[in-house]
């Protein structure tokens, strides 16, 4: 075990810190709609132009292929600079779709899409969940019938973030008629401008409309848009899951740490008070979560299930932090503002991408090897 940064690492840190200090947007990011799209893409384009986008991506697609140490430093500096949340409209492009294409895409898919993603030319959204298959993703029913060299898609997706402002969708469909559960699915690139697609934004409890329902009525997608093998979409999706829970985790966690420090500064708790203990506990948990993420980055072997654990700890810590804010800020939290907004948004943390209950099943069954229940 070692933890030593080189002079070159420190020089990299200085250069990241300087660039972020000069370029981090001062205004808050809009929450949804075209304004959110433009803000996020503009910020990505600026990073891309300066060489700070996809710094871990292969050079062939516009990245810098930097090792994990440098990514850690970048995310640390990003959080330190209070730069815009990574959970913006580009999150799926940069952290789901891009990494999935890098891992499973054809040379043509990569060459076409990856530079567009990294340069901020397009946005992607996700199309996995369905109304009747929330936590039970494998029960999805949106169908894709092979018709010559095309798939013809019918069905419905839900909880598709930013579907209303995205050009592409990573879409999981049942391509083998009559197939059961995890078998017979395909992961396809869906052009959101295709005829037959209807998007209906859904307002969430924080008042925003970044979620949407998407309806597919004989939507035609070329077979060349299938990523990985036809009918092997579950494995491709699991790859995405692994990436989601690993790559950007560091930055999201440090953003939580920033919030804890802000709360401590706001609350100025008396030593020994109940509030001091609560905030101290949050700090320790955030430190532990950071250490856990480092472990998944810098220790072999790491599996997608480690990610499940990290994701759950993150989700519940995030909710605890925002609850503390609610208690500290008092009546001001009833008014619209960044803290009250973040408090409400945090309710999705233990739901979206697999509920906390499902994550605990995964930890129990896949990490600990406990038996599956007939009903769980």
């Amino acid at each position: 075990m070692q933890l030593d940064l080189t002079e070159a690492d420190l020089a990299f840190r200085r250069s990241a810190r300087e660039w972020l200090a000069a370029n981090t947007p001062g205004e808050p990011a809009p929450h949804d709609g075209i304004a959110a799209r433009e803000f996020a893409l503009d910020w990505l384009r600026r990073r891309h132009a300066a060489g700070w986008a996809g710094i871990g991506w292969p050079e062939a697609y516009g990245g810098r292929e930097l090792p994990p140490e440098r990514l850690v430093i970048w995310y640390e500096e990003y959080a330190r600079a209070r730069a815009p949340s990574l959970l913006d409209p580009t999150f799926v492009s940069l952290n789901h779709a891009g990494p999935t294409l890098i891992a499973c895409g054809t040379p043509e898919q990569k060459a076409f899409h990856l530079p567009r993603i990294l340069s901020g030319a397009v946005l992607w959204c996700q199309g996995f969940s369905e109304p009747e298959s929330g936590s039970d993703l494998a029960s999805l029913r949106t169908s894709a019938a092979v018709d010559g060299d095309e798939l013809v898609i019918n069905g419905q997706k839900i909880w598709s973030s930013y579907a209303d402002i995205a050009e592409y969708q990573e879409l999981l469909v049942r391509s083998e008629p009559g197939s059961q559960r995890h078998r017979g699915l395909s992961w396809v690139i869906c052009d959101m401008r295709s005829p037959g697609i209807t998007v209906r934004p859904i307002r969430n409890m924080a008042g925003e409309t970044h979620f949407a329902e998407v309806f597919y009525d004989n939507v035609r997608v070329p077979l060349s848009n299938v990523v990985g093998a036809l009918h092997d979409g579950w494995n491709v999706a699991m790859t995405t899951l692994g990436f989601e829970r690993k790559t950007a985790a560091m930055g999201l966690q440090l953003a939580l740490s920033v919030k804890i420090e802000e709360l401590i500064a706001l609350a100025r708790p008396r030593p020994g008070s109940a509030l001091a203990e609560r905030l101290g506990d949050l700090r320790a948990q955030a430190a532990g979560l950071r250490a856990l993420t480092w472990r998944t980055q810098f220790r072999a072997p790491a599996t997608a299930f480690d990610g499940s654990l990290v994701r759950l700890v993150f989700a519940e810590l995030s909710q605890q932090i925002h609850r503390a804010a609610m208690d500290i800020l008092g009546p001001d939290m009833l008014a619209h503002g960044p803290w009250s907004h973040a408090y409400l948004e945090a309710y999705s943390e233990t739901i979206a991408g697999g509920t906390a209950e499902i994550q605990r099943n995964i930890i129990g069954e896949r990490i600990l090897g406990l038996p599956r229940g007939g009903a769980r």
């Binding site: 936590s135 307002r203 233990t350």
Partner: protein
């Protein structure tokens, strides 16, 4: 029996009447088209003077009866102006402001609920309010809003507006030292919170019984079932303590402050805990604005802020039932 925790015939009638009114005029659905709740209906029901003596223009019921009514108000997320009115009417009476009291009881003078926030006040439901009421530390105050020119703003709860003002910018109509009135206000806040806890428990159990995942209702899974059980536990203990506190306060027994503080503590926990679990059990739908779950969460926060966080060690916790004499 000298101890009887069953509802009296009077109480059953009040509850039936209240439920009829609330189901007809205050369905949760109404909150999707925000607008002030009709105070005329609340006033016509007699809610604002329910426990005031008949000679003072009230209905002459007791504290336990009023608590039951406010539980139902909580279940229907009735505007905080109803609770504010009930407290303000009493404060006006104790201040000798008889005509103001009459106007409040009649629903003519609408009352906002004032939350202390350092040197500022946050007013809940200020729309159309002539005055505001606040309480704490054994006293209650009435504030004149008529000349304040307050502009209200949207809260995080679309169905609840609020206004903010420096405390010293609002003229006092009067302040009355009345520990019992402050305790009563705390108790009614607890009652409303309990109503929210009951409603969210029922919503969650209902959804868990019908929503299918992995081939069966999610309520068959222990994780969800135990969430529901925890909601039931939190609700039942808060409900029992609320009744106990109401009886003890109604009897003016010496442990009233402790019993009310305990009821408030347990009701806050039940309302917020249940609101959270209700969202979680509803999954993605629960996080959407289309589901009612978030309304209960937001109102629970507003009402929790209306209650004080009493120091539960400040009073004696009796081991035995204390009698008045």
């Amino acid at each position: 029996m000298t101890i009887d925790l069953n509802l009296s015939e009077d109480q059953r009638q009040i509850l039936d009447a209240a439920r009829n009114l609330l189901e007809a005029r205050f369905p949760i659905d109404r909150l999707r088209n925000p607008g002030a709740d009709p105070m005329e209906d609340i006033a016509a029901f007699g809610a604002l003077g329910l426990a005031l003596p008949e000679e003072a223009g009230g209905s002459g019921f007791g504290v336990t009866d009023e608590v039951l009514l406010h539980v139902e108000f909580g279940r229907h997320l009735v505007t905080p102006a109803a609770l504010a009115g009930a407290i303000a009417a009493r404060a006006a009476r104790e201040l000798g402001l008889a005509s103001l009291m009459q106007r409040i009881i009649a629903g003519d003078a609408r009352v906002a609920l004032a939350l202390r926030n350092g040197d500022d006040l946050t007013l809940l439901a200020p729309g159309g309010a002539a005055l505001a009421v606040s309480w704490g530390a054994g006293s209650a105050s009435l504030l004149d809003l008529s000349g304040a020119g307050l502009s209200d703003e949207q809260s995080i709860d679309d169905s609840l507006r609020l206004a903010r003002s420096p405390a010293d910018a609002l003229p006092f109509l009067g302040s009355v030292h009345s520990p019992n009135l402050a305790l009563l206000a705390e108790l009614l806040v607890a009652a409303q919170l309990l109503g929210m806890a009951e409603a969210t428990r029922d919503m969650a159990v209902g959804y868990a019984g019908v929503r299918q995942q992995f081939g069966q209702p999610i309520g068959a899974f222990q994780a969800v079932k135990h969430h529901c059980a925890n909601m039931a536990i939190a609700t039942e203990i808060a409900s029992a303590q609320l009744s106990m506190a109401a009886l003890v306060l109604g009897n003016e027994q010496p442990d009233a402050a402790f019993q009310v503080a305990s009821a408030g503590h347990l009701a806050q926990r039940a309302a917020l805990g249940n609101a959270r679990l209700n969202i979680q059990i509803h999954g993605g739908f629960g996080f959407s604005a289309e589901c009612d779950a978030h309304l209960f969460l937001k109102r629970a926060h507003a009402f929790r802020l209306a209650g004080t966080r009493a120091d539960l060690l400040a009073h004696t916790a009796p081991l035995t039932h204390l009698t008045r004499s």
